[in-house]
């Protein structure tokens, strides 16, 4: 019999997503892929936040129905993260575009103007 889905499963998923995102952010040379990887890490965090909210957050009152019995702190936090991530991607993509126009490349290793 399969065990019921618990907090651990969500955390493993979140950890896996975060690791993939981190790998992509560190290893990929294409700036667009790096941005996508960062997006992946944000979402891993969202998964973890929502899971913690669902399983650990203390109950407020027993009279409320199941769906409303828990505080929504984690979910609200996740919405904020999504908003910030959207803004970040908008900004990041704008920068990547500007750099591409200037230097005809999106390779992060070639964006070394200050080093020179």
């Amino acid at each position: 019999m399969l065990a019921p889905i618990g907090l651990e499963h969500f955390l493993v998923l979140s950890g896996a997503l975060f690791s993939i995102g981190l790998y992509g952010a560190l290893a990929k040379k294409n700036a667009v892929v790096v941005l996508m990887s960062i997006e992946l890490m944000f979402n891993a965090v969202n998964v973890a936040v929502v899971a913690f909210s669902r399983y650990i957050a203390p109950a407020t009152t027993a009279q409320l129905p199941d769906t409303a019995r828990f505080l929504l702190t984690g979910q609200v936090f996740a919405v904020f993260v999504i908003t910030v991530a959207a803004a970040e991607v908008a900004l990041g993509l704008a920068l990547v575009l500007a750099i591409y126009r200037l230097r005809a490349t999106v390779h992060v290793t070639e964006m070394n103007l200050m080093k020179q």
């Binding site: 981190l22 952010a25 790096v34 992060v108 080093k115």
Partner: protein
């Protein structure tokens, strides 16, 4: 004579120095004649007090004892300042202040209008004060301090016209060369200091001159100790008195103003070496080996310097070599007289003083006629604007006073009866003949050469036709010259006074009075001494030898019967050797200064500096740079790499927390 009066001898010129340098020169006109008048006044006062001291010591048995004043006391060590006044002190005081007074008066004319007028008189006052202090000192440390002060003044006055490179170089040379000798003197003082223990038990202080005398007489110090002491003291004397082999500085010192040469480098400071030997004569007497050295060095220097004096063309240099030669004579006199006395048996203070009298009597006479010779050459230099005798000649007619006084001084130097030089030279010759025939032969040879070179100067400068003086430029600053002329009275009067002294100063010992004054012997009738000396053969021999020298000079430079050029050609190697000063300058310059010091020691120091000192500093800097270069590779500027490190760091922290926490 009170003690205060004795101290005043020293403090009058010192006050003059302080007033000129701290008040007159900065706040009043630096050409102010007051500087000169003040100096003359102060030194005149010192001369009066010196004559009082001379009177007080006459007939006074032993030194006039004044208790020294405590200056520094550290534990059992006590340094006391005081005055040691005996006949030697008094005679030196009179010589120093007397010649100094004449020179200061002369300088009023000679230095007129010089930009350094006030500075000149300030230095001259300081020099006179130091020299008087050196003579008065009762303590070896005090004596050494004044000894170095006269060296300093000599440096300042040789380099008085410091804008001339030759003068600046000569000043340095004089200071450094005499420093070599002074080092020996310093070692002797330290040696005395370390033998304090040997004589402290008797209540004696090894740094005080009267105590040293007592220690020597009572045999508290061994012969070996005294020999080393004598050698150290004599080293100081060799440096100051320009004896072989440290004679090289004195001829170059002629770059200074001529009155400076007359005072410092003829009459007083260079005689300080002779005075030093005389002052410590009991030490030399107790260690005869040192006396032999004094006599040999003196005799050798006398001949050696005279040979160089015969060929120089610079009038001042001839007189300078003459000074070295005569100082050698004094050393010879002290040495042989000391040996003669030492052989007679037990040495007492009285016996030592008799030997001192012979050397110091020549110092006394020499001071006057040599200062006069310098003032005469200064006068000639003043008139013609050059010191090169080849450009002079015929000055007898235009400068009669200079001519007459110069000839008197020359005859006195040559030792012609009855002038001053004759009497003291005769004593030295007599005692040398008795003691050591070889040294007597050297002394007699010197008499010949002395007469020759000084009359060579007379004939070249004053006889014949005038040969034009300074070509184009003028040797002595600030004087524009047309025709040569006699010097102003302010210069002539001191020369006349000195010429009188150059005649009569020797009469003091005609009847033995000087020796009696110095503490030994008895007087006889004046006329008996005056004419009686001609009954002996030795004075005749000396005078015939001197006469031959004068005659040869006349033949070569007066009547020109013997061509000086042809003589020079015939004896060219010897002439060149003399003229190039035996290559001593080159020897010292190349062997000691260049090879040993500059290329040896200093090059080693430089290697140490560049390799070790600089190496340490540069090495530290290089290590820092290399470390920076290495660490810099970590800073790639690649954000992803930094991220990787941060990730690794977090992983490590997490692992540590998990397993170690």
């Amino acid at each position: 004579m009170s003690e205060a009066a004795a101290w005043l001898v020293l403090f009058l010129p010192l006050a003059s120095f302080l007033i000129i340098s701290l008040v007159i020169r900065p706040f009043f006109n630096r050409y102010s004649q007051w500087a000169g008048y003040l100096t003359i006044l102060a030194i005149g006062g010192a001369l009066v007090l010196s004559l009082m001291a001379l009177k007080a010591t006459t007939g006074h048995e032993g030194p006039i004892g004044w208790d020294p004043h405590s200056w520094i006391t550290v534990g059992s060590f006590n340094l006391r300042l005081g005055i040691y006044m005996n006949s030697l002190t008094a005679i030196m005081l009179v010589v120093v202040s007397g010649v100094s007074l004449m020179v200061q008066v002369y300088s009023q004319g000679y230095m007129k209008g010089d930009p350094g007028y006030a500075r000149y008189f300030a230095f001259m006052s300081l020099f006179t004060a130091s020299m008087l202090g050196l003579v008065l000192a009762s303590n070896v440390v005090m004596l050494y301090a004044f000894w170095e002060l006269v060296g300093l003044c000599s440096y300042l006055l040789i380099g008085f016209w410091y804008h001339r490179p030759a003068a600046a170089a000569a000043a340095k040379k004089a200071f450094i060369v005499t420093r070599l000798g002074d080092f020996g003197f310093l070692l002797a003082i330290l040696y005395l200091f370390f033998h304090q223990g040997a004589i402290a038990g008797q209540g004696l202080n090894s740094l005080e001159i009267p105590d040293i005398y007592r220690a020597v007489q009572t045999g508290l110090l061994g012969t070996a100790v005294l020999t080393w002491l004598g050698l150290g003291i004599f080293a100081g004397a060799v440096g100051k008195s320009a004896q072989f082999p440290l004679h090289v500085w004195l001829p170059d010192a002629m770059e200074g103003p001529t009155p400076v040469s007359a005072l410092i480098h003829a009459a007083t400071m260079v005689a300080a070496g002779v005075f030093l030997v005389a002052r410590f004569f009991p030490i030399f007497e107790a260690a005869p080996a040192t006396l032999r050295l004094v006599a040999v060095i003196g005799g050798a220097t006398a001949v050696f310097a005279a040979t160089m004096g015969m060929v120089m063309n610079d009038i001042k240099r001839v007189v300078a070599y003459s000074t070295i030669s005569q100082l050698g004579y004094m050393m010879l006199g002290l040495g042989v007289a000391g040996l003669a006395v030492a052989r007679e048996g037990h040495v007492t203070a009285e016996v030592a003083r008799a030997a001192v009298a012979i050397g110091i009597f020549h110092l006394f006479n020499h001071a006057f006629f040599k200062a006069l010779l310098f003032l005469g050459s200064g006068s000639v230099n003043h008139a013609t604007g050059t010191v090169d005798m080849r450009l002079m000649g015929g000055l007898r007619k235009v400068m009669p006073w200079t001519y007459i006084t110069f000839v008197i001084a020359g005859l006195s130097l040559a030792g012609v009866w009855p002038l001053a030089g004759f009497w003291s030279k005769d004593e030295i010759l007599a005692v040398a003949l008795k003691e050591q025939p070889v040294l007597f032969a050297l002394a007699l040879l010197t008499v010949f050469m002395t007469a020759f070179y000084i009359f060579r100067v007379v004939f070249l400068t004053f006889c014949g036709e005038y040969r034009g003086g300074a070509p184009g430029e003028h040797g002595h600053d600030a004087h524009a010259h047309g025709k040569p002329h006699e010097s102003p009275p302010v210069m002539v009067v001191p020369m006349v006074i000195l010429s009188v002294l150059a005649v009569i100063s020797g009469f003091w010992n005609v009847n033995g009075a000087f020796s009696v004054f110095m503490g030994e012997g008895q007087t006889k009738g004046f006329f008996e001494g005056f004419f009686g000396i001609l009954a002996h053969p030795l004075p005749w021999i000396a005078m015939i030898v001197a006469g031959l020298g004068i005659f040869l000079a006349y033949l070569m430079y007066g009547s020109k019967r013997i061509s000086a050029e042809r003589m020079g050609e015939r004896f060219k190697p010897i002439y060149t050797l003399f003229y190039r000063k035996y290559y001593f300058d080159e020897l010292y310059e190349n062997l000691f200064v260049r090879r040993s010091l500059v290329n040896g020691l200093f090059a080693g120091f430089q290697k140490f500096d560049t390799n070790v000192v600089d190496g340490a500093v540069n090495g530290l800097a290089n290590v820092t740079v290399a470390t920076g270069k290495g660490v810099r590779r970590w800073q790639t500027g690649q954000l992803q790499l930094y991220g990787l490190f941060m990730g690794i760091g977090i992983v490590v922290i997490v692992l540590v927390l998990l397993f170690a926490g």
